[in-house]
């Protein structure tokens, strides 16, 4: 069954398997496009597995090819549709674990978090990478806060709840939150 065509991949569901294939982008020259798609596919499979080893729910990987990954189907609800302060807090805890483990998700949005059987699964690791710097963690959190702000009403409450959870699992949480504020100010005139 055809599930979605996201921004970069076609996602199909065949019974309890998800097949995610990164499709060609004609606006990019082929050498660059092939390189990006191959790198992201490989990184995604590797980091989904490493993240699970940190105790964070992610789909099990069954197979990987050039531009294609086969993985476990997580039959749940995207956090986008059900987010509330309690779930935001737990997302904060899991993100705290992720960052303590040195992994950056790279595309933390409420579409890429799935609630199933009371557990929050992290999916879509196409932009994930290993990095232990406060800067990278700050950008990761900034991206999530941006989806809170751009798509959810109560974003202040969600942000505070996230922070509560994040603090519990990550000792440098304060530094990261301070950096998030700096990042918001950047990219503009000094």
């Amino acid at each position: 069954m055809y599930l979605t065509q996201g921004a970069e991949a076609i996602v199909k569901q065949e019974e309890d398997i998800i097949i995610k294939e990164r499709i060609q982008k004609r606006y990019r020259i082929k050498v660059l496009d092939d390189k990006i798609r191959k790198e992201r596919t490989r990184a995604e499979a590797r980091l989904i597995s490493e993240t699970r080893r940190l105790g964070i729910p992610t789909p099990i990987i069954y197979d990987i090819q050039n531009f294609k990954i086969e993985m476990e189907y997580i039959d749940g609800e995207p956090l986008k549709n059900v987010i509330n302060p309690e779930l935001s807090k737990r997302t904060g805890e899991l993100t705290g674990l992720l960052h303590s483990g040195g992994i950056i998700h790279g595309d933390l949005t409420t579409s890429n978090l799935i609630l199933k059987d009371g557990r929050i699964y992290f999916i879509d690791f196409g932009l994930a990478f290993i990095d232990r710097t406060i800067e990278a963690q700050g950008v990761d959190v900034h991206v999530l806060f941006q989806t809170f702000e751009s798509t959810h009403e109560d974003h202040e409450k969600l942000i505070n709840a996230f922070y509560d959870g994040y603090k519990q699992k990550y000792i440098h949480a304060d530094k990261v939150l301070k950096r998030v504020k700096d990042i918001e100010k950047r990219g503009r005139y000094a």
Binding site: K25, L32, L127, R186, R188
Partner: protein
């Protein structure tokens, strides 16, 4: 009765004043600051604006008089309140306050980024687009949602125009570098790999700029210019596509000075075609900084009752587009 607004732009290199009504630009007068060497010096640019402000405004008022419009019948004066270079903003704000007092009409401070967007919607069929706004200092992907223009993604360091200009300078090309890089890129032979950095919905250009500078030691100018464009533009087109997917909108509008680049337009056009979205680019005169866009956003604000007033007319060099309550949509 039509609304007529006088608008003044002067956030950076271009001092430009215009009068518009609902339908069109009635007159526009521009004085461009051209640095002799290197990039823009904020103080020099503001001295330039101070020197020409009264001439530009006088000329504009003469022009409208000759079209039978009495300056006293203008409805308001609008100016770029930010974002921009502090000294330039203050110069333009001062001139605008004086004009507001002399003509005895209200003053409206407008957000420069949103002015780029609204002029594009005015001059193209776009209605509710995802906007890629690319200029010297700014690079953002924005879209309207519930009372505000939300920033879906943006540069984490420098704007694409500044990145292009900086690389051009190190390659010995004159300012502004963007158009010169575009020219050299046409004669490429091969792609030189450069860092492609997209983090979620955001992107960054400083690593790319440094790598491109280094690449010049072993590669030709043409190849590096080409590779710079291909890499940097693809990053922004990717984020624009994500914003389309995320918001469910089906129009893209290109805004800002870097939007003059034909390769960037081509890439956006291909992306939109492949997704079944429409792609819009306004005429070139409305893409770089211009007075008409400030006047036009002033007009939208005036008609929806958003009058700034003298006491709130202080400038804001970091004025965020997503901090503006949109009263006119």
């Amino acid at each position: 009765m039509k609304t007529r607004i006088l608008g003044i732009e002067g956030t950076a290199w271009n001092l430009s004043a215009a009068v518009v009504d609902e339908d069109d630009v009635i007159s526009e007068v521009t004085e461009t600051y051209q640095p002799d060497t290197g990039g823009i010096h904020p103080r020099e640019a503001s001295q330039h604006h101070a020197k020409y402000a009264s001439t530009v405004i006088q000329k504009l008022l003469e022009n409208i008089k000759s079209k039978g419009i009495d300056p006293k019948t203008l409805d308001a004066v609008a100016f770029s309140q930010g974002p921009g270079l502090g000294p330039c903003l203050r110069t333009v704000a001062t001139a605008s306050r004086m004009l507001s007092l002399t003509l005895d009409i209200p003053i409206i401070g407008v957000n420069h980024c949103i002015a780029h967007i609204e002029v594009g919607k005015w001059k193209t069929p776009a209605k509710d687009p995802v906007v890629l706004y690319v200029s010297g200092a700014n690079s953002q992907v924005l879209a309207y949602r519930k009372g505000k223009y939300r920033v879906f993604g943006e540069t984490l360091d420098v704007g694409i125009g500044n990145a292009l200009d900086k690389f051009a300078r190190s390659a010995g090309l004159n300012h502004p570098g963007g158009p010169r890089i575009e020219k050299h890129a046409k004669n490429f032979e091969k792609y030189v790999p450069l860092p492609y950095v997209v983090k979620g919905m955001d992107f960054s250009f400083s690593g790319l700029t440094t790598a491109a500078k280094d690449a010049l030691e072993n590669e030709t100018m043409e190849d590096v210019c080409y590779s710079f464009q291909e890499t940097a533009f693809a990053m922004m087109v990717e984020v624009t596509e994500r914003a389309l997917a995320h918001t469910g909108k089906n129009e893209v509008l290109l805004a800002g000075g870097v939007g003059a680049n034909m390769r960037l337009r081509e890439m956006l056009d291909i992306m939109c075609n492949d997704r079944g979205a429409s792609f819009y680019v306004p005429e070139k005169r409305f893409m770089g900084d211009n007075g008409a866009m400030i006047a036009y956003l002033g007009l939208l604000m005036y008609r929806s009752g958003s009058i700034t007033g003298l006491k709130d007319s202080h400038v804001d060099p970091n004025f965020r587009p997503d901090s503006v309550e949109v009263t006119w949509i």
